[in-house]
Symmetry: C2
Subunit: 391 residues, 2 copies
Amino acid sequence: MVTVQEARKLIHENCGSSKIEEIPLIKSCGLVLAEEVYAPIDTPPFDQSAMDGYAFSFDDWDKHADFKVTGEVQAGNYLSQELIPNQAVRIFTGAALPMGTDTVVMQEKVVLNDSYIRVEDDKIIKGSNVRLRASQTKKDTVVLNKNHLLTPASISFLAGIGIEKVKIFSPPTISIIVTGKELIKPGQAIEDGKIYESNSFGLIAALEQLNITPVSVDWVDDDEEQIRKIISNWLQSDILILTGGVSVGDYDFVSSALEKCGVKKIFHKVKQKPGKPFYFGKFKDTLVFGLPGNPASVLTCFYEYVVNAVSSFTLKKYYEKLMMPLANSYTKKPGLTYFLKGISNSENVSILPHQESYMMDSYAQANCLIELEEGEENFSQGEIVPVLKFI
Amino acid sequence: MVTVQEARKLIHENCGSSKIEEIPLIKSCGLVLAEEVYAPIDTPPFDQSAMDGYAFSFDDWDKHADFKVTGEVQAGNYLSQELIPNQAVRIFTGAALPMGTDTVVMQEKVVLNDSYIRVEDDKIIKGSNVRLRASQTKKDTVVLNKNHLLTPASISFLAGIGIEKVKIFSPPTISIIVTGKELIKPGQAIEDGKIYESNSFGLIAALEQLNITPVSVDWVDDDEEQIRKIISNWLQSDILILTGGVSVGDYDFVSSALEKCGVKKIFHKVKQKPGKPFYFGKFKDTLVFGLPGNPASVLTCFYEYVVNAVSSFTLKKYYEKLMMPLANSYTKKPGLTYFLKGISNSENVSILPHQESYMMDSYAQANCLIELEEGEENFSQGEIVPVLKFI
């Protein structure tokens, strides 16, 4: 039996085989860049008008004369004609300044007379209302660093400089195996001695919040041979999650089935509540988590351990761990770390009722897990404790 | 031209036609319950052992005699035989207690002698190691309230009481129309006068973070007739988002095309930077947002306005608005509300460089928008300002 700290350390030491993949930019939101991004072009790619108005050459501007408007350039068009002094062009926001021009006067600041304009703008200076070429990005310079988290704004930015694919740290492939003879599917009528299977639901939803769809979900009876077969089907996944059957009862076959499949046990049993029978092992690079079958144990081990393993692949931090004061006092048995369902607000964190590992009604109300240290027994109101926020 | 406060109020007043839909529980993560959920069964559905051990009747226990073990009940099985005094059954975690039993002794606390056991447990009381029927939920009582946000734990809880479908507030259907003659797709070679289209990328990613996939994305030239046709294709969506062409230039056809489609303008132009030409209108129940085409304006109007409209459908709060002290002083022009790209930490919020509406490199680094009030000009370091956190 290991401590929570040892379990964390052992999982951490056995993770770390992140893989890099090139994917379409549009699919990359929430993922982390696996390499620096260089700008393929200057942006703006040309001197660009920031306004609807008229473009001209500031230095050649004879303030006593009107400009002759010799053409028009709409955004998306390009005027190849080079302007000479005393000529201006009608220009619109986003359009490229024609050669020979460097300044734009807003349309509200001119007097228009047939095809001539008079500029009436005291504040205009050279370069007014122009977005200079390369003022955002310069070609071949680094514009986003490795390990950058891709947000909608990052994606808009990269699209705007012409990037359509990015290299990211791939999310792990994850397989789920739910064990238990007592389980029937929600929606069916309940039978004597049976309960509804809920762990696949909790895990699929929790993975969805990490933007991961499991590659497989299997349900299997408490039968060592069947469990072994299904495990061996999915040992090529990056992460294999099993629920139930991991304790030491006569019908707990998960750890023996894993052993027969060649999975190397890293630890089995953690000094914690809930989730004491928690198992962690490895088969080549595949991380194997055996979660105790009670639904609160499953989700708590997921949030406290499996999420960190997912992070080791994606290099993304999913949930915040904060230090917060307890709203109520609490007494626990020493010798186990407790993970308690809690509700935090901006001030403090409250411990919910119904902490037993089969109770999910309280978990449904929780927005965090409160960690109470193994060695301690009495926690007073106001004591600062670690809190894992998952909402 | 309306103020930011007026724009918010007008959008709020014109929203509110949330729709209710029944969907599979497994698809409901992150959505909000549209009705109370009643427990269809007691849970646990029977008195259940919390341990591997032996079940017996506490009141009939003769402490001077051993129990005869007359059977075994594995989780998922059911023993219909009723026990009599001096009989016990082998029982496993999660299994139903046979009739005539009410207490479980852990297997570690018995002395086993052939088919007899002697209980050696000082602390055992009536009901020890038993999860009573209905101790989590009682049949026909409310177990989750209307407006409850469905989390992985809520979903696991509901599955565990046998629920497989839930009524939720439906996310809106959203169509995107990107306008602009100057736009080419990322991945293609850049051409004179053209820029890369990025707004569909930013919007699709921002919607993905709200768990919404747009029902359509169209690209259209600055041509009133074409814009009108595409608008009329998608006026049955709950929300229609257009980008670009919403100003008053010679080639800005969005507001006239909307008018020709029968969309009623609610407001056009907001006293804000970026995004001054922002348009909001309505066609029957369809909300129509015309976002100015610069990519920073698009995302800022999305975060500040469109997200609230989405919330009016889903009843979900997506992003937090906090009050935070400025890390740096800032001077702006009075008369417009400024929304500035910022980075917040636990202490304060910093204003990033490159605030122009065509600059996305800074937005890519931002985790929030800082709101600076319309009337004010000078903001000092430490001044408390509203901050919309989107990461």
